[in-house]
Every structure is written in C-alpha cells, then in structure tokens.
C-alpha cells in the first residue's frame, strides 16, 4: 500500500462519520421540536454505541454493563448541575462523608467531563475482572456489573433517591453539544481502532492463543480499552441527564441496555461505521414504532403497550440469523470502495 493510500484510508471513515453527525445536527436545526428531540436522542445513542464499540468491537467481548457507566455519568451530572439550594432540600439525609455533594456545583461542560472520568473510575475498579475473563464469562461479568450498579442506585436512596426521580437539572444538552461530542467520540474510537493497542486487541479477538503466542499482552490491552470506552459512555450519561433533566434508578437498566445492544448488533459491532449507523437507524425506527404503537398509523387506535419492543426484538432476531455481523460486517464507510485491494495483482 502506498503512503498516500494509507493516509486516505486512515482519514476517510472518520471524516465521513463526523460529516454525518453535522448533517444530522442540521436536520434538527431546521426541524420541528419533535424532530429535534429525536435527533438529540439519536446523537446521544451514537455517543454511547461508539464508546461501547471501542471496547466490544476491538475485543470481541460484548458488554451488557456499559449502561452502568452511563448511569454514573448521569448521576454525576445531576449532582454537579442541580442548583445548590434545591439540592440541599432534595438530599437532606446525605451521609456525613458525602456532605460535600450538597454544595458542589459546576458548569455543564465540566459536569460532562467529570461524568466521563467518574465512569472511568468504576471501569478501573472492575478492570482486573475484565483482564482475566474472556468470551461468555466476560459477557456475564458485564451483566453482573449492570445489576450491581442498578442495585446500588436503587437502594442507596439517601444519595440517589432510588426510584424517585432526580429533578431540577437545568436543560443543558443542545443539539450542538450532542453532535460535537458524538463527533469527538467517533474520532477517539477510530483512533483507538487504528492504534497499536487496538490492532493487538483485534488480534486477540480473532485468536486469543495465537495473539499470546505473538507476544501480545491481551489482558493489558483489554483493560485499556475497557477504561477508555467507559469515558464516552459516561459522557452519554451526562448528555442524557442534561437533555431529559429527570431520571431515576430504573432509567439505566435492562430496557436501555437492550436498545443499545440492538443498535450495535444491527449496525455491526465489529465496525465503527456500523455502530454509528445502527445507533441512528434504530433511534429513528424506535420513534416510528412508538408512534405506531400510539396509533399514528392505525387511525388513532393505539396498539397494546410493548408492541414496539416486540417488533424491535423480532428485527434483532432476524438480523442475528440472517447477518450475524450486522449491516456493515467488518466494513467501514468509505467513498472509494476497494480501490487499493488487490492492486498489486
């Protein structure tokens, strides 16, 4: 491969994906409030799924626990952005050691950043487990992580309000925040995929034993990707909190996890483009299904609740059977398809 081809191939995909984010944001700018809402939600999904794909796409280990990182980002943002006077009445029973939480305050951009870092702290604590386990065991461990985070958020009501909602967050997530962070996360995920660590992790995904025999420290790279991927997912939680301004412990659990899994599987978990396209596509599909369920296309007769989720689950099953690697497989979005492949023949 010549150098210029290599460089073109290196920048083509992220440029296209970032441009796609800009395009999506423009749709929202010129659309009505509903379109804006759907678009912001879709962009938050892109942030989450691109972050998840940084870990799962390169390591081949599917994580069902990333919504736990998202929860950390959201709760951190709540504590940092809810006005201090409101907070002191909301959390009158804070344990003494956490008393400082009632008085801290930060502007939204700082809250997003701290949300990402707080998620990374949880990732770091759980990293030794991810380094040791592979395949199915690792997948189950991530599910256990989700359950642990949920249980703590649900039970530690003095601090989290449990299933009572967090309220009073200022509405901070604009379309530009969502699109900007989506673009940033895409660039980070791509840079990791092309990095020396990313390539070594992909090798371990393809064949663990052969990777070890080539001197690759699989555990080390897996830990790095695990921690790195938790940061954007924490951002996604912060954006979610700053957009919906209210949530509770139930928000970040199985149903949200299922949505994100559908997105990454439909798009193709081995491809960053697949993850991004899956996030956008499924967000739109979910909105259409929701309206369908509410009777928008059936003359106002609303259908039984849950029909939207059933259809989504059916679509997932269909894709798992027909195209286990999703829409994109291992391909990435490119302008010039296959130009350099086989060029030497």
């Amino acid at each position: 491969m010549t150098n210029s081809t290599r460089i073109r191939r290196l920048f083509e995909t992220p440029i296209l994906l970032v441009a796609l984010m800009g395009l999506v944001a423009l749709i929202a700018v010129f659309g009505d409030p509903t379109i804006t809402r759907v678009t912001v939600q879709a962009l938050i999904a892109v942030v989450f799924v691109a972050g998840l794909s940084l870990f799962s796409g390169n390591s081949g280990v599917m994580s069902f626990g990333h919504v736990g990182f998202m929860a950390i980002g959201a709760y951190t943002t709540a504590y940092l952005t809810i006005p201090v006077n409101l907070k002191s009445s909301m959390f009158s029973d804070l344990p003494e050691s956490l008393g400082f939480l009632a008085t801290i305050h930060a502007p939204f951009p700082i809250a997003v950043l701290v949300g990402g870092l707080a998620a990374a702290v949880l990732a770091l604590v759980t990293a030794p487990i991810m380094a040791r386990l592979g395949g199915l065991q690792a997948g189950i461990a991530t599910l256990a992580l989700l359950v642990i985070v949920f249980t703590v958020l649900n039970s530690w009501t003095d601090v989290t309000r449990g299933s009572s909602s967090m309220i009073g967050l200022p509405k901070s997530t604009t379309i530009w925040w969502a699109a900007g962070i989506a673009a940033l996360v895409i660039v980070i995920a791509w840079a990791y995929k092309k990095s020396r660590s990313g390539l070594q992790l992909q090798a371990s995904r393809e064949d663990y034993l052969a990777a070890t025999a080539s001197g690759i420290a699989v555990g080390r790279h897996r830990v790095f990707a695990w921690v790195l991927s938790s940061i954007p997912v924490g951002f996604a939680g912060a954006l979610y909190a700053g957009f919906f301004t209210t949530f509770n412990s139930q928000t970040f659990f199985l149903s949200l996890t299922f949505s994100f899994i559908v997105m990454i599987v439909l798009g193709g978990y081995l491809s960053l483009s697949g993850a991004v396209i899956g996030a956008l596509g499924v967000s739109v599909l979910q909105e259409i299904l929701r309206r369908f369920q509410d009777g928008a296309f059936t003359g106002g007769i609303s259908l039984p609740a849950g029909i939207a989720d059933l259809i989504l689950a059916a679509v997932l099953l269909f894709v798992l059977v027909k195209a286990p690697l999703g829409l994109m497989g291992t391909r990435e979005l490119r302008l010039f398809r296959k130009r350099s492949i086989g060029s030497a023949s």
Binding site: M1, Q200, A203, E206, D207, A210, T212, A213, A217, L270
Partner: protein
C-alpha cells in the same frame, strides 16, 4: 571481512529430559532435544508420537511434568508462552490460527507490535516479509479469505515478524506435495540462515526432512527413537521399521 564484524552469538535452546503426562496418559517421556542458532532441526515421527507436545513444551504453551527447558544456562521451564515469544522463541500452529478478519499485512504487523517493535519499524518489517514470502498480492485482503495454500505462509510470516531467535514450526508444509514441501522448507532454511535463527521443524514426511534439515530427531510413542545426522538416520533399522514400515 575484518575482525570488527560482529559475529552473532550462538545460543542453544534445549528441552532436557522432557516428560508430559495428561491425566495418566504419558504423551512424552524423557525427550531431550536441542537447537542451535542458525541450525534447522527436523522433528519427525508418526501421528500421535508427541511432536506437537514437544513443540508445546519448548514454546511454553504447556509446562512439562518432568524435565526442563533451557536457553543457554537460563531456565525457562516456568516462563509463559507470551514471555518466551518476547525473548525470541516463537512458534506456529499446526492449524495456523491466523487472525482471520485482519488483513494479511495486519497479521504480520501485529505480531511485530506484540513483541514490542515501534509502529514504523513494524510496518517496514511487514513490507519486507510480504515481499520475501510472496504475499504482496494478498497483503490487503482478510487473512481468512486468502487461498488455502497461502495460509501457512501467513503463519510463518507472522512468526518471523517477531524477529525470532528460535522458530518452532508445526508442520509448515502440511497439505503440500513433496516437491512443494521441500521448496517451502528450503525457503525457511534460507530465511533462518540470513537471520542466524534456529529452527525446530515438525514434519511427518521423512523424505521431506532428509534433504533439508541439518539434524533429525525421531519420535515414536512419546520416546526418542534416534537423533542425529540425516544420513545416519535414513538407514537405521528401527526407523525403517516404525516409520517407513507403517506408512507403506
């Protein structure tokens, strides 16, 4: 040549009295085998005689139940396969185990990275190896979709990318006819000579290793039958019986 030319240090990799017991099955017993830098040693024997097990012990994929693995006077017996790879003892697999969905070039580059090379160094070495092993035409295709005949070459290229001091090859010529096999092993020979790298080569076909290896080691039922120079082994009555006798 003047005296300033640095002579590469000759090292010896040894399995000393190696034994391997799998839950009561003695797959290998008291096998001692050594390889020196620059030398090609053929390890032969019928199916199930313990060739892969020997390679597993030397590469660190398995740890012997008895005996030791030595590099010079350094004891490697408990060292992991990964660490051995990083100090230059690298193996291939009988089933190759390519990184299927990575490109052929990435398969090679990633092994160089795995052994600590810098990115540009790894890329340069990859270009060299692609050229040396005639893999340029498939460089940017997924390894799993390369023609079957090239898969084994990819495995060898990947091992060479770690700049090995000792290369342990498990049936690199499997599935090829005799002349192809001889050609491949000759190529491996040249490569190892140029790099002053020792090669332990497992092969089940006696005639292939006769013309290509410096020394031979014959196994049967987990024990050494005979070890020595090819010409001495060709006519050994035991070898003729257990080896040629069974196959023809």
């Amino acid at each position: 040549m003047t005296t300033t030319t640095e002579v590469p240090q000759v090292e010896t990799l040894q399995l000393v009295d190696g034994g391997m017991n799998f839950d009561g099955v003695q797959a290998l017993e008291d096998v001692s085998i050594s390889v020196k830098s620059g030398e090609v040693v053929g390890l032969i024997g019928p199916n199930g005689s313990g060739k892969t097990t020997t390679l597993n012990l030397v590469s660190g994929m398995l740890h012997p139940t008895t005996g030791r693995v030595m590099l010079g006077d350094k004891d490697l017996t408990r060292m992991s396969m990964r660490k051995r790879a990083r100090i230059g003892i690298v193996r291939t697999f009988q089933s190759v185990r390519v990184f299927g969905r990575l490109t052929v070039a990435e398969n090679i580059e990633v092994a160089a990275l795995g052994c600590g090379m810098r990115r540009h160094e790894a890329r340069e070495l990859t270009e060299e190896l692609l050229e040396e092993l005639n893999l340029e035409s498939v460089a940017n295709t997924a390894a799993e979709s390369s023609p079957a005949g090239l898969i084994r070459t990819i495995g060898i290229a990947r091992a060479l990318a770690t700049r090995p001091k000792f290369l342990l090859l498990d049936e690199p010529a499997a599935g090829q006819n005799e002349s192809e096999a001889v050609e491949l092993i000759e190529a491996i020979r040249n490569i190892s000579r140029r790099r002053a790298c020792g090669v332990l080569l497992v092969e089940h076909d006696m005639s292939v290793v006769m013309s290509t290896c410096d020394r031979l080691h014959v196994l049967d039922s987990g024990r050494t039958v005979i070890a020595g120079l090819p010409q001495d082994i060709r006519h050994d009555p035991q070898v003729v019986e257990i080896y040629f006798g069974k196959r023809h």
